[in-house]
Symmetry: C2
Subunit: 266 residues, 2 copies
DNA sequence: AGCTCTTATGAATCATTGA
DNA sequence: GTCAATGATTCATAAGAGC
């Protein structure tokens, strides 16, 4: 049995990552602080300065990502003066100049988005999950995220985790593997680039930035067991928790001591 | 009774629109030919030239749109050499320089998108519907697109009073309009910026992949009866058909004779 | 166990107020 | 004038309590 590492570091990922070798990670999955959001806890980067703030960090990510690895960036621009700000668009263009390939844009449809009513705008119910790569060729394990066919597929996607997983695993170990795979071929379909997930609101201990199902989906899709996952804005540590559960090694970096404390104590 | 106009023009919208006055339209809703898509029918604009091709036309749209009007641009960049092309991002940035406000980006989730699988990519199940305006203030009729509320409200309302409901219903015709509207308010909610619409299959005459529900939603949201709607890339004429059905005047422009013929003959 | 009902809350946005 | 803080608006979800 191979031991799984789950390491946390306190600090700015820009500095912490200098201690890591090139080509260290198979997947970088993160949700950095958005511009002007969480200003109370993170100090707040203004939308106009966001690209300049992010680019040196993106450069480090490029360095520590393996050649066939993937970088998933969960982000969404907010409304400023009645308009959507353009810093995310500019970020994509700048990252391409830096050497990244912008392979895909997944949509995370937030089924339970924040309520509200305004004269000129509806509720914002989606966020971007931008996929960047270093190479046109990269590791992708599509079978790992297949979903049941039919209308209930979407409902099951989020629940696909705990119970179903352990049950399937136990079946595989006891000779049912082939049957399972046959069943999979007939009843399962490849998903699309639209993810339907609800944000987790019920967790009173630490409010997760994104639902576990989000990193879970991308970790399954872009890594295999014993691979290395990095979350440079670990926050409450959701990504690393999921990585550990899925038997992936992971590194989480968080600049805020209170989060770091929460993480380290599990 | 007011007569509703539904006019079609054959030609390039860049030229046809010069005959129209400034401030003519309340809504411009269109799905222009995507770069390199339908190249056989449209002559094929390459992705790298797309912005240069589009900008003079955007300038005309800006001219003929009323001050409080809205421009909805349905578009999606395709994958080129394994990457998403950036011409849509660049288009947004250029249109802002031209004077447009980028108010919102709606997501059209294509529920029954074409099946397919590629080694490094899933099915593309969404498109952008970019909202541009001339002014921070614009006409928006949110009540016209309200949707039934979710389970939470239904259960709560059911529990609230089985008898009160039927009582209110029976009093509809007898002067209790206020109660009915309260009931409506509880039963309906404002939608989000994510649209779940199925593509219409089976229409082999036209290459348009534009379900009627898409222009219908935006026409209801941004215009009222007798307003003027423009579709400068009318294609099979879907937008104008819907506009007519909803008692809006409309102008459709199409450069391809075969489409123009189809449209004019209904 | 399986229901139903209650309740807190989440990367929100805009208008108003005050310095 | 500009800019920051506060209040009002509002819905899907899951945890938890009760039966």
């Amino acid at each position: 049995m191979t031991a799984i590492n789950t390491d946390f570091y306190l600090g700015d990922c820009l500095e912490v990552l200098t201690d890591f070798d090139i080509d260290s990670f198979d997947l970088i999955m993160t949700s950095p602080p958005y511009a002007d959001r969480r200003s109370k806890t993170y100090g707040g980067i203004s939308p106009d300065e966001y690209v300049d703030w992010f680019m040196p960090r993106a450069k480090e990510f490029l360095r520590v990502l393996k050649p066939f690895g993937t970088f998933i960036l969960n982000i969404k621009e907010q409304a400023v003066n009645g308009e959507r700000h353009t810093y995310v668009l500019e970020l994509i263009l700048e990252m391409k100049k830096q050497g990244w390939l912008w392979t895909e844009e997944f949509v995370w449809h937030k089924k339970n988005c924040y309520p509200g009513k305004w004269p000129n705008r509806f509720r914002d119910a989606w966020e971007r999950c931008l996929q960047f790569n270093k190479s046109k060729k990269f590791n992708m394990y599509q079978e790992a995220v297949m979903v049941p066919m039919g209308d209930w597929a979407e409902k099951r996607l989020k629940k696909l985790s705990e119970t179903d997983q352990s049950r399937d695993t136990s079946k595989v170990g006891s000779g049912f593997g082939k049957n399972v795979s046959n069943w999979l071929d007939r009843k399962m379909a490849y998903p699309t680039n639209v993810l339907h997930l609800a944000t987790e609101t019920g967790n009173r201990k630490h409010s997760a930035v994104f639902p576990k199902a989000l990193p879970e989906w991308f970790i399954k899709l872009f890594t295999k067991e014993n691979d290395w996952v990095l979350d440079p804005y670990a926050g409450a540590g959701t990504t690393c928790q999921v990585a550990q559960k899925l038997l992936r090694n992971s590194v989480g970096i968080e600049i805020l001591p209170q989060y770091y404390h929460t993480i380290s104590n599990g």
